[in-house]
């Protein structure tokens, strides 16, 4: 499945637009990593645990979106946007939006 943030795919025509698809992910982190990150925040710099947490949840959201698009019979998702990031108490929630289409 083609997933892109372009609005159309050069060289391929969109046969049918199936509407918006969404993927959401909620990812929890271990209390120990939260504690260590809390200490790390005193010194500043990159919070690698949170970087990894958000990357994982983004991949999960994309995978969920792909499953939804496939269920609709699409073979591509265009115009993908990431939105609504919230980190509350070490828990990351985010969603990804896109337009499911059928390419020729």
């Amino acid at each position: 499945m083609l997933i892109t943030n372009l609005e159309n795919v050069p060289g391929q025509r969109i046969m049918k637009s199936l509407g918006m698809v969404r993927g959401q992910a909620l990812q929890d982190s271990h209390w120990m990593t939260r504690l260590l990150s809390g200490l790390h925040r005193v010194l500043g710099g990159e919070l690698a645990h949170y970087s990894a947490l958000l990357r994982r949840s983004r991949e999960k959201a994309l995978a969920h979106m792909e499953v939804e698009a496939r269920a609709m019979g699409a073979n591509a998702v265009l115009n993908v946007r990431f939105s609504a990031l919230a980190v509350v108490g070490g828990r990351a929630r985010l969603s990804v939006l896109g337009t499911a289409v059928v390419l020729e």
Partner: protein
């Protein structure tokens, strides 16, 4: 007595470590940017993709969460009230954006991309700190990596979420005309 010592020592240590981390980060950013400058990126969603129609395209992203040290954070949230411009946050956002772009670029280079199109940057506050001042920011850079046909064979197998090459590459001209036919 030792409580007062701790009250002084912790911010001083935080300031020192934070400053060293920031300086090292800037140095590493400059170094990696020199290496990755060979990969062009653009934020145009249309023209370049038709100029260079992809036989294989892939969503690439890079993200980073960075935070200021305690001392600068407290000073910045005080300065937020008194002054208009908070330079430590400017530096923080600058670091985060450059780091996110670099990560996106290195992911694209791993796929042997020639160009990353339609690059978007998104910023989010990860923690809401004292007095509503953000204590950490996350920057996400994402775009579509265009991988030329002759390179797709040597490109590594799909590791992230995404993509098969189109079934008929370069089959039909798009409705949108190319800039330089």
């Amino acid at each position: 007595m030792w409580e007062i010592g701790l009250l002084v020592l912790v911010p001083v240590l935080a300031y020192l470590f934070g400053t060293i981390t920031e300086r090292n980060h800037y140095r590493s950013l400059a170094h990696r940017e020199r290496h990755l400058v060979r990969l062009p990126i653009c934020d145009d969603p249309h023209s370049l993709t038709t100029l260079y129609p992809p036989p294989s395209s892939r969503l690439v992203m890079g993200s980073v969460v960075v935070t200021l040290d305690l001392f600068k954070r407290v000073v910045a949230s005080l300065a937020n009230r008194l002054l208009g411009r908070v330079e430590s946050y400017e530096a923080l956002l600058d670091r985060a954006r450059r780091e996110a772009l670099l990560r996106m670029k290195s992911e694209a280079l791993r796929l042997d991309a020639a160009l990353v199109c339609n690059v978007r940057l998104e910023t989010a506050h990860v923690f809401q700190g004292w007095r509503g001042a953000p204590s950490a920011v996350e920057v996400l850079a994402y775009g579509t990596a265009l991988i030329p046909a002759e390179r797709t064979r040597t490109a590594p197998a799909a590791s992230g979420p995404v993509l098969a090459p189109p079934r008929r590459p370069l089959a039909r001209p798009t409705s949108r005309p190319a800039l330089n036919p």
